[in-house]
Amino acid sequence: MGMKKATPEADFLPGTLEMLILKTLSRGANHGWGIAQHIQQVSQDALKIGEGSLYPALQRLLLNSFVEAEWGVSENNRRARFYRITAEGRKQLLQEKKSFEFLLAGIARVMESS
């Protein structure tokens, strides 16, 4: 019953990965591999997203109607499932960005205090 498994790569703050995916998709529809690649490249290899956390996160976004999925053909002519951000997803992204910045500023203030 509902066992809690240790994920192979520990998630940073809960919900952060969803935010990064939404941000990536706000530039245009993309498939799972493309999303992971984009996040890794833009973060300059600081963030590596494995499928073990990517696909559950995408399912959560689908369940909340923040993204839509559709099969299509990738840039190198391969079948791929493309994810597209919805209007609700954009709203969510904005909100998450705000609370993330708030949190980050809070952490920074604590770390920089003497």
Partner: protein, 156 residues
């Protein structure tokens, strides 16, 4: 609504599984093409990723219930004597319990199934010492004193 999405997806369970498996397979192919052959290993167990993705939709609990049920049935089929003993014991105990309660309910909890049950008397005539006639019934008991006058006393 989330709940409707869940139910709709549950109906298209096979499709969901196929989509997810296909998607992950493609993911691995792309990873292998981009990073080399040891990429697949770096991504960990595919079965576990599938399981985590399914769990998001709440299929995990449903699956584990079904597995528990199947496990129980398999266990029973393997040791039929034990299964029959258990079923017999529980069945007997249940039947006995129901019977005893039915009787208890009919005689003690519910009023008797006759018109004006509280007007009912069961009369014992006794010619013992004191020569009082005893009667009991339907929540009223009393005694007939020698003079023959009926006194009602409430109680059991």
């Amino acid at each position: 609504m989330k709940i409707w999405k869940r139910i709709r997806l549950l109906a298209q369970r096979r499709q969901f599984e196929d989509d997810l498996a296909e998607e992950m397979r493609i993911h691995r192919e792309m990873a292998a093409a981009a990073l080399g052959s040891d990429a697949a290993r770096a991504f960990g167990s595919a079965a576990m990723s599938m399981e985590d993705s399914r769990a998001v939709w709440g299929f995990g609990r449903l699956d584990s219930w079904r597995q528990d049920l199947r496990y129980a049935v398999r266990g029973f089929r393997k040791t039929p004597a034990f299964a029959l003993t258990v079923i017999g014991t529980i069945g007997l105990a249940l039947g006995l319990n129901t019977t005893v309660f039915s009787v208890f309910n009919a005689y003690l909890l519910k009023p008797h199934a006759v018109r004006d049950p509280y007007g009912l008397y069961l009369v014992h005539l006794g010619y013992g010492e004191g020569s009082r006639s005893q009667f009991h019934l339907a929540g009223i008991s009393g005694s007939v004193p020698p003079e023959g006058r009926v006194q009602r006393r409430h109680g059991l």
